[in-house]
């Protein structure tokens, strides 16, 4: 599904990632964990086309996506969420999700200005599909709220609804449980499983170990820019190198 091959990233003299390789299996939930500064977010930023890597490749379903910029990846079925949720604050909740359908609509500037009939039909269609994703994430009642007025937990749900609207085959989530309370984290776990059951492969970076061990099928551990271990939650919990990396840090 997603193959990362010999990925290296240097910022000036600092090596953020060194020779990282792993595979993400279709239909699974994969967790990427590691102490702070391990390079998890950098890895996400490279895979999602926000940074250009120093060397190495990323393949999505067999196709090389290494050189593609962020805006090209949505159409390829790859989408992400952000650690500090990135919502469109001045737009309503529904409009945020409607934007997720941008790549599935075609109307250009002129047909929008002159309200061409196909544009109006498309607009109705987008609105309908967006409402379904609000329903999926259980935030229908907030549809007309301004996104910047949402409490953090609901904002997270909205970000996921918006990402789902892109109709991704793979979703990368950067610390989805950060800033959530216990109840919200439990809801998030249910939602992530629901996303997987929709056939979307999920990769998440997460610090909440309980959540990771609970929902992930496979876990990749990074430490100081290198891959330390990879395996099932049980294997990782018993891995001596992982334990010492975490305890060493604390």
């Amino acid at each position: 599904m997603l193959e990362v091959r010999n990925l290296t990233q240097r910022f000036g003299g600092i090596t953020a990632l060194e020779d990282i390789s792993f595979n993400v299996t279709k239909g699974e939930i994969t967790g990427v964990i590691g102490p702070n500064g391990a390079g998890k977010t950098t890895l996400f930023n490279i895979v999602t086309g926000i940074y250009a890597q120093t060397s190495g490749t990323v393949h999505l379903e067999g196709k090389d996506i290494s050189a593609l910029p962020a805006e090209m990846l949505a159409a390829k079925g790859l989408v992400r969420t952000f650690q500090n949720i990135e919502l469109f604050g001045n737009m309503t909740v529904l409009e945020n999700v409607m934007l997720g359908l941008h790549t599935q609509s075609r109307s250009g500037i002129l047909s929008c200005m002159f309200k061409a009939p196909w544009h109006l039909k498309e607009e109705r269609n987008i609105r309908e599909i967006a409402s379904e994703w609000l329903e999926f994430c259980d935030i229908t009642d907030l549809a007309d709220q301004k996104a910047s007025n949402l409490p953090f937990g609901k904002g997270r749900m909205l970000e996921i609804a918006r990402a789902m609207a892109v109709r991704p085959s793979i979703m990368l989530m950067d610390e989805p449980a950060a800033g959530l309370n216990n109840r919200e984290t439990a809801e998030l776990a249910t939602l992530i499983r629901k996303i997987r059951d929709k056939g979307v492969t999920v990769v998440l970076v997460e610090h909440d170990m309980e959540l990771v061990m609970d929902i992930c099928d496979r876990i990749i551990v990074l430490n100081l820019g290198r891959k330390l271990a990879e395996g099932t939650p049980r294997e990782i919990q018993e891995n001596q190198a992982v334990i010492s990396a975490y305890l060493g840090e604390g």
């Binding site: 952000f82 001045n90 359908l101 607009e123």
Partner: protein, 324 residues
């Protein structure tokens, strides 16, 4: 969420006001001011699409306005081309030019973009002054014909008023459609979080360039209208000061608001007429206005005035309660 019926009602009320105003205003001087309000509304609308919605500054709008005026003026005077075709040519040339210039320029952000567009505006201004053979240089270009339809010539203030305002209302209507569409959403998304918009598949770079080109083209149409209404143009109307004035109109009226563009344009066109007595000090009044607006009404008049009313009403009800 914008309600469709309210939106239509608001627009129709505006159309009505535009239609009946000349019945109340007979004086040629006032009609002339209103013609300028119309032209300035188109210009601040064009800038607002770029600045208010896409969040990209342009300090070269007066240049595009001038290009529209000069292309129209030169084609009709020197080459005796029909004014309508000249207007179409002006819009097409300027849109295309802005599209190609936009690609390198809009890679820049913030101050750098401001500098680049400022430079562009100044280059255009210098061309107006120096290409004396074609533009007439600093003394200007005169004898530009009025627009006419099937023998009906727009040669009085009243006729021009209706002509200009027809264009203004159409531009406003089309802009309203645009900002409530997928393109409008994408623009606002770029403004709020460019990285998230890109991840959702919005090609921010191309969209910004497209809006820049649209904004320039719309300004060129305003320029062409200006040339054919005034029948005389000179470089002084298209300088850097006017670009700044346009930015002030957009900010005072309200960023990302179509009606705000109208309010800002109206205020900044009528105010100087009232400030004639102060002569050269009017620039101080502008500056003060801009500072006060950003301090107390960052959303511009269009958001600030309703907020003012709500807070006055809230204070009034509180007073009633304490009195009782």
């Amino acid at each position: 969420m914008f309600s469709k019926h309210r939106e239509i009602f608001k627009f129709l009320s505006l159309v009505l006001v535009v239609l009946i105003t000349p019945l109340l205003v007979h004086e040629g001087y006032l009609l002339n001011v209103l013609i300028f309000v119309g032209i300035h509304t188109i210009l601040s609308l064009a800038l607002n699409l770029l600045l208010g919605y896409a969040g990209q500054i342009s300090l070269g709008q007066a240049g595009f306005f001038g290009l529209g005026a000069y292309i129209s003026g030169i084609l009709t005077t020197t080459h005796a081309i029909n004014p309508w075709i000249a207007m179409l040519a002006a819009a097409t040339i300027v849109t295309t030019l802005a599209f190609f210039v936009g690609f390198p320029i809009l890679k820049l952000k913030g101050h750098y973009l401001a500098m680049a567009t400022l430079g562009l505006g100044i280059i255009i201004y210098i061309v107006f002054n120096e290409a004396v053979d074609r533009t007439g240089g600093p003394s200007g270009l005169s004898g530009i014909p009025n627009l006419s339809i099937a023998g009906y010539t727009f040669n009085t203030d009243l006729k021009n008023y209706y002509l200009i305002w027809t264009f203004t209302l159409v531009a406003m209507g089309l802009s309203l459609n645009l900002v409530h569409s997928r393109i409008g959403r994408a623009l606002r998304a770029i403004h709020d979080s460019e990285v998230a918009a890109r991840v959702m598949g919005v090609n921010a770079r191309v969209l910004k360039v497209q809006i820049f080109a649209l904004s320039a083209g719309l300004s060129a149409i305003a320029g062409s209208l200006y040339a054919h209404t005034m029948t005389f143009i000179a470089p002084a109307s298209f300088g850097f000061n006017f670009s700044v004035e346009l930015v002030t109109m957009v900010i005072i009226g309200g960023l990302a608001s179509i009606y705000g563009s109208l309010l800002g344009a109206a205020l900044l066109t009528v105010l100087p007429e009232m400030l004639r007595a102060f002569q050269d000090y009017d620039i101080i009044v502008y500056g003060l206005l801009l500072v006060l607006m950003t301090m107390f009404m960052p959303g511009g008049l269009v958001k600030g005035i309703p907020e003012l009313f709500t807070s006055i009403r809230a204070r009034a009800t509180r007073k009633v309660k304490t009195d009782a």
